[in-house]
């Protein structure tokens, strides 16, 4: 007798079942799409000519190029998505090379990581492109553009253009419309225009929507003394703003709404992930291994920044001269490894390979703090609608944070996870209307699932997930 758990034979079965869309004749290619893509190509050419050229009007040509790319992309998105209805939002996602870690995705990843490497460590290479934005920088900030201005400009355009794509794609879903509009508004207003306008008014370039520990430097002694030393009352106001936002507003809002109030409605990193990153959200790993790594890495980064902050203040206080430059060195390391490499190069550059929320899931210390609170002391939960789940897996597949939503839904349990950013896409893609983002009346009942005759049968026994107790007979198999 031979009864072997033939776990290995799954491989052929998987390839076997992958559907080849070879004969796909999708009804795209409308005049709107052609016009849009044509505009993108012309814009790229204009931009290239402006960067390389020496002629008088190259700045104008460059601005026209930026404009044409943005308008072309926006037009293409409207043309494609306005023809689809909600149920076909994800048609063909896994058949496209750019969206399924194919050769196009690798090329994009190399390009995007390359851009970040140049931006952080070889900004002089961007100089010709940067100066194309001088008129914009003069208008907004009253100075010439630098590479950070270029970055903020491109970033904001990306959020707006891909945000428009989200708006058309989810036009039947008010939750998605409001939060996408909110992300676009915060990026444009608070993370781009306002800081530069403050510069123009000879005030500090201040980002109202970034707080410690995400924006660590605001509470470092150097940042604090800079603001405090600023003439006029504004510097002090900004210090108070930072303190209130970190210590009061964040915990209060997270208690009532979960961390989504920030991650999916306000944050600039979230803004990029939810717009530019939306076509890639399904690439996040749902394996329990990824979850284990996440729990170590995100709290490690939190520990790192807490320690760094404590050290730089201890040093600044002058009470621990024996520390020497440890705080300074630690904060340099943090800036390099976490600020630049993790959140930039890996966090965004790897979008096409690892999905859109790598930084938010594995690194962001702000997400870590709010996540702990969300898990332990918040009214926010995703509820499961009784016994309606059919375990299809759309929710898990499209969870950008890699949460195996289905694991909870098929048990009839609420989803209360530290990492959940409340984007609401699991609820939007569920074909059976099973999932709903809710703020309860208290935090006490957040873990409870719905009660009904199906509850007992949905609730699965707590299995031991260890191989230690496997009985001997498995080893005897031929």
């Amino acid at each position: 007798m031979s009864i072997v758990g033939e776990h290995t034979s799954a491989c052929d079965e998987e390839h076997h079942a992958l559907v080849d869309p070879g004969s796909s004749r999708s009804p795209s290619g409308s005049w709107g799409v052609r016009l849009g893509s044509g505009l993108i190509v012309l814009g790229l050419l204009a931009l290239l000519a402006a960067i390389e050229g020496q002629q008088e009007g190259r700045v104008v040509l460059g601005l026209v190029g930026f404009g044409a790319i943005a308008c072309g992309a926006a037009g293409t998105f409207v043309a494609v998505w306005s023809q689809r209805f909600a149920a076909s939002n994800n048609h063909g996602v896994f058949f496209r090379s750019a969206q399924s870690q194919g050769i196009v995705a690798w090329a994009l990843a190399v390009g995007m990581t390359g851009f970040y490497v140049i931006l952080y460590w070889f900004p002089e290479r961007l100089e010709r492109m940067t100066h194309l934005l001088d008129p914009v920088a003069t208008l907004l900030a009253g100075r010439a553009a630098d590479h950070w201005f270029l970055y903020g400009f491109v970033y904001t355009i990306a959020v707006l253009v891909f945000g428009l794509r989200m708006l058309v794609k989810h036009r039947g879903n008010p939750y998605q419309l409001w939060r996408t509009a909110s992300l676009m508004a915060f990026q444009l207003g608070f993370a781009f225009l306002l800081p530069h306008l403050m510069e123009l008014a000879r005030q500090p370039e201040f980002y109202f929507t970034y707080f410690w520990p995400l924006k660590w430097s605001y509470v470092f002694p150097s940042g604090v003394s800079e603001l405090r030393g600023h003439p006029g009352g504004l510097g002090v106001f900004l210090l108070v703003w930072s303190a209130v936002a970190s210590l009061v507003a964040t915990p209060v809002l997270t208690y009532y709404f979960g961390k989504r109030w920030y991650c999916s409605w306000v944050c600039g990193c979230g803004g990029l992930a939810e717009t530019l990153g939306d076509p890639l959200r399904h690439l996040s790993s749902k394996s329990s291994t990824a979850w284990r790594i996440e729990r170590v890495s995100i709290y490690a980064v939190l520990g790192f920044i807490v320690l760094t902050t404590a050290l730089v203040w201890t040093h600044a206080s002058g009470h621990a001269p024996w520390l020497g430059g440890a705080g300074r060195r630690l904060s340099d390391w943090y800036g390099f490894f976490i600020g630049s490499v993790f959140s930039g190069v890996v966090g965004v550059g790897f979008y096409p390979l690892l999905g859109s929320r790598v930084w938010c899931r594995f690194g962001c210390p702000m997400a870590a703090v709010m996540g702990l609170q969300q898990r332990l002391w918040s009214r926010f939960r995703i509820t499961t609608n009784g016994g309606q789940c059919i375990s299809c897996g759309n929710c898990s597949t499209y969870c950008e944070m890699g949460i195996d939503v289905r694991a909870y839904a098929q048990k009839g349990e609420n989803i209360v996870r530290a990492s959940c950013v409340g984007c609401g896409v699991c609820s939007a893609v569920c074909p059976r209307g099973v999932l709903n983002l809710e703020n309860g009346r208290t935090h006490g009942d957040r873990m409870v699932g719905h009660q009904g005759p199906w509850t007992r049968l949905l609730a699965e026994p707590p299995f031991k997930s260890t191989d230690a107790e496997r009985p001997q007979h498995r080893k005897r198999h031929s």
């Binding site: 009864i3 776990h7 079965e13 329990s288 983002l437």
Partner: protein, 429 residues
Amino acid sequence: MRGGRATHAVIVGNGIAGYTAALRLRHMQPEWRITMVSGESTFPFSRPALMYVFLGHMRYQDTKPYEDRVWRDVRIDLVRAWVEEIDVGGRRLSVGQHKIMEYDRLLLALGSKPNKFGWPGQDLDGVQGFYSLADLDRMTRTLRRTRRAVIVGGGLIGIELAEMLHSRGIPVTLLVRESSYWNNILPKEESEMVTALIRAAGFDLRLQTELKEVVDDGHGQASAVVTSTGERIECEFVGLTAGVSPNIELAKRCGLPVGRGVLVDRSLQTRDASVWAAGDCAEIVGEAGQRGLVQQVWYTGRMQGDVAAAGMAGSPRAYDPGVWFNSAKFLDLEYQVYGSVNLSVPGERSSYWERQDGRASLRLVHKDAALIGVNAMGLRLRHEVCERWIREAAPVHHVIENLSEANFDPEFFRRREPEIARALEGQLA
């Protein structure tokens, strides 16, 4: 127990009924040996999700409800093979070509198969239902040479199949026997709503039209269908979606009593004391003179797997599905039903609201002023609340006054309870 070794439970079929039973049994009997056999796939997957694999929303591996390692962790052996014969008396079965497996308890969770009603040409290449992994493969192959497709039979799978074909740019014709889409299940207005939606999506819907025959192209492949109106429609793919019927061949071959399905009692035990049946393939024998119960939706498979496991583990329980419910999605129109809807219960009345654009509706079915059923289109309702109202026969006035309690729409969706309540209340007088 035989010869001092652990009791061996074998589960044939790894669909929702089979794998639920396996997990439940492991919980109730930590020491038993449990083997789950399936010829279709090694690991369980979600059958309703196959369409999303075809559509490119997910990969096949994303349809698995549990990570592969879970089955190892809970010590459930997975065997990929077809079960050929069962020797009920000797309590053994032959698996695959030459393997014999002995069992102490056996569960048949064999599923069902698409109905074929003896149409000429129904077994030609290019004619198929959409049920299994093999169907997905077959369909993908046929579509390489398909210019036009015909779907026979209404219902959920019919519209899903149409959507799938449409996504590849293949024109679809639907042949439906009824005068309005799925009106044997949906009430008149809802059925008309779905009918309008299908037409708006650009599908060629032929009502009151049946299949007469599938035409052979001379090489064993379908090349056209002929309808009951005598029309000939050229097509290379013919989808059969006129319902499913239980897989009973294996049970019949081994001498177990079968009717429409494998006959079982309330605890889902067959006539043989070591054999149970659950899910799509099972028929629960009714009281004398009553028709047996065959239930073929996801949650009943799950509930039956659970009950069968309890019986196998030695603590039998009567199967009680509670208040009926179901849900589905027609293109982008969501549908939920609770309790008795469109069942012509004597004395029933119904109150109906429809949104102006014809893309959402709510129906309350009541009898003697007590709620017995709810049907929602384009709205999400709370299962827990609808179930309680129906179970407790809540007064329909109370239900209308408290509709918001049952609202499960996402945040920021427009709440229309006052409008709905006015419309429903107006019909009660």
